[in-house]
């Protein structure tokens, strides 16, 4: 994995609460055996009409959304199915972080593993972001802080461990494989148990 140290971008806002992974990437696009190319189908049923043409009124189809790498979303983002295709689709589209007051457990876990930053903020910060779409914000990983325009950095919760992996570009599988001796010892202990 590429190390991630900081991120600076304008935001796109999808203010609805409980945006589930079926909206992020509908199930019919899950009959794939690779992780590439899912960005095309991101939010497919909101983004395209029945004929497959982009809906003008959907935020991601507007010029303002171009090159935005940070998505601001309503509470409980990523609920529902455990499909990792959801963070893959967001990443493939170009997003690198999601900001919300609450991010669903499995989505959060999946996102961290593929380099999409889940940023959980307080209600006041979220409200400000929802009311100011397109604001230029920055995220700093080593300090786990989010900085809004003309404001002091605010800390967001990110485990030391997750931060260490992201900043150093280490993936969890490498970490687990390095603990092979512990796993073998555990298996021996149990089989004698």
């Amino acid at each position: 994995m590429e190390p991630i140290l900081s991120l600076r971008s304008r935001t796109v806002v999808l203010a609805a609460a409980n945006i589930d992974t079926d909206q992020i990437i509908p199930a019919r696009f899950l009959t794939t055996t690779t992780r590439e190319g899912l960005g095309e189908h991101l939010f497919a049923d909101w983004r395209y009409d029945a004929a497959g043409a982009p809906r003008r009124d959907f935020i991601l189809n507007g010029a303002a959304a171009r090159d935005c790498r940070i998505l601001v979303a309503g509470r409980n983002f990523g609920c529902g199915s455990s499909r990792e295709h959801a963070p893959w689709a967001l990443l493939d589209y170009g997003f690198r972080a999601v900001i919300s007051t609450q991010i669903a457990d499995i989505f959060r876990s999946n996102a961290l593993k593929c380099g999409l930053l889940p940023v959980v903020v307080d209600a006041a910060t979220a409200s400000w972001l929802i009311e100011h779409p397109g604001a230029e914000v920055s995220i700093d990983l080593p300090t786990a802080t989010l900085t809004l325009p003309a404001a002091a950095p605010v800390a967001f919760p990110l485990e030391t461990f997750a931060r260490m992996l992201l900043v150093n570009g280490i993936d969890e599988l490498e970490y687990l494989l390095e603990r092979d001796a512990h796993i073998s010892a555990f298996e021996r202990r149990r089989s004698q148990g």
Partner: protein, 463 residues
């Protein structure tokens, strides 16, 4: 109970700086969330560490039409056929047991685990599917994972995890006649909300849970994820042991006695502390139905849709559904009825629906699909003649699979159509683009199929 299972599976304990390395006893895999994980193993030159603790089947994108499974007809969705072939290839290459397309033991991954006795109390169980919470009904710690983690478990039989918090849901009294486990879990979600369980493992406790049979407990644990909890669990008891006894993959002979002694130690000790507790009165539960686009938008079948001021998401959900605040759902026309899924595709679910459909016909214009949760459920239902009850009523009887629960295997609800479904998610487009899903119990589904309108099953049961 969570603590006991957790502590027994810690390869490395968690600390402030790093999560625990947690050992996994059973890894279930299916065709949709595994190919990219096997690809990582291939790219890194890794094997499957414990193939004998790994069990594969196909259910999600797998068709339910007999001719596509047994009749030599091609699988209609070519990309789904490729996924199925990829799973066959990967299992052969990595030495993983596969209950494949024509296996008599194939079925929805969360139906076959308990059915085979592979799911057991005290085990850690994972699968690349959020409804893995189902297996917690037998006293296991079972949760859904993403594809990257599927790769971790394949390669190391372990996961990096922080211990979740515990939420006790204490359920008193018994469900009334005509009210089912599905209504109970929908009722619970209506109380705690779709994110009420986030960060927690739910333990369902109390007399109301003890009174449920094993399949009802699975329905309850199955939808824990719809309350935001990764896992739901119920302490094992005599109901659990009686269910497991004699199943093909449980320990046999002396080993069974040893296992039983071990399992009896699992229930939480008297006075165990939970991070949160919620009280539910099972006797107050009524047949429930969803009216919106998440499972928390739910009310009694005879209820009225609530009013919610200044809530754009709520308004949007009602607009999608074609409903208005203050309206009743009772007597609304339904176009499709789906009986099946990992929530309600077991034998007792089919029996419940059959009690209402026996000797009756589904209403003209209603399409009803009955999809058993596994091939074993299908055979058992056929042995009792349930298939004849369904087909005589005018329903279609299929091979097992996830089917209409999610639109990726050819079983779809049309745009704008109302589907009364026994599955677990009423998200926009879940059953097909523009499909409108009403979640309810098998009894409510059968009653509504007969009338062609949303119906409280007690009206027919008591008539």
């Amino acid at each position: 109970m969570l603590e006991k299972i957790w502590d027994e599976h810690e390869v490395i304990a968690e600390s402030a700086d790093s999560p625990a390395v947690l050992y996994i006893d059973l890894h279930l895999i299916h065709e949709v969330t595994s190919p990219q994980a096997f690809a990582v193993l291939g790219a890194r030159g890794l094997g499957v560490r414990r193939p004998e603790l790994t069990l594969a089947t196909m259910d999600h994108s797998t068709p339910t039409r007999s001719e596509q499974i047994f009749g030599g007809a091609p699988i209609a969705i070519e990309s789904a056929a490729q996924q199925i072939r990829a799973l066959e290839r990967n299992c052969a290459l990595f030495g993983v047991e596969l209950l494949g397309l024509r296996s008599a033991q194939r079925g929805i991954v969360h139906v076959i685990g308990p059915e085979l006795g592979a799911t057991q109390p005290g085990k850690t169980i994972v699968c690349g599917d959020s409804h893995t919470s189902t297996h917690g009904a037998l006293g296991a710690l079972a949760f859904g994972i993403g594809t990257t983690e599927v790769g971790h478990v394949l390669a190391t039989q372990s996961l990096l995890q922080r211990k979740p918090k515990s939420l006790a849901i204490n359920i008193d009294h018994r469900l009334q006649a005509g009210v089912s486990a599905k209504d109970l879990i929908l009722w619970i979600i209506s109380r705690i909300g779709v994110s009420g369980g986030t960060g927690h493992v739910i333990e369902y406790r109390g007399a109301g849970v003890r009174a449920l049979d094993m399949e009802e407990r699975m329905t309850v644990c199955n939808m824990s994820i719809e309350a935001g909890a990764r896992a739901g669990m119920i302490a094992p008891d005599e109901t659990t042991y009686a269910y497991l006894a004699g199943r093909p993959r449980v320990p046999q002979g002396l080993k069974w006695d040893e296992a039983l002694a071990r399992w009896r130690q699992l229930p939480s000790d008297a006075g165990a502390r939970f991070d949160r507790e919620v009280a539910i009165d099972a006797a107050a539960v009524e047949p429930m139905i969803t009216y919106g686009t998440n499972p928390g938008m739910v009310m009694p079948v005879n209820g009225t849709i609530p009013e919610r001021a200044n809530d754009a998401a709520f308004d949007q959900a009602l607009a999608y559904m074609g409903f208005e605040a203050g309206a009743m759902l009772k007597d609304k026309t339904v176009n499709v009825v789906f009986l099946g899924s990992c929530t309600n595709g077991r034998l007792s679910d089919l029996r419940a629906a059959a009690t209402l459909l026996r000797g009756r016909k589904i209403a003209p214009g209603v399409q009803m699909l009955v999809v058993p949760g596994s091939q074993a459920v299908k055979r058992a239902a056929e042995a009792e003649g349930l298939d004849g009850v369904f087909t005589a009523a005018g329903a279609e009887w299929r091979e097992s699979g996830c089917s209409m629960c999610l639109g990726m295997n050819g079983d779809l609800v049309g745009k704008g159509e109302y589907s009364l479904s026994t599955s677990n998610r009423n998200f926009e487009g879940r059953q097909g683009v523009g499909a409108r899903t009403l979640l309810a119990s098998p009894l409510t589904a059968a009653a509504s199929a007969v009338r062609g309108r949303v119906t409280d099953p007690r009206e027919i049961l008591n008539s």
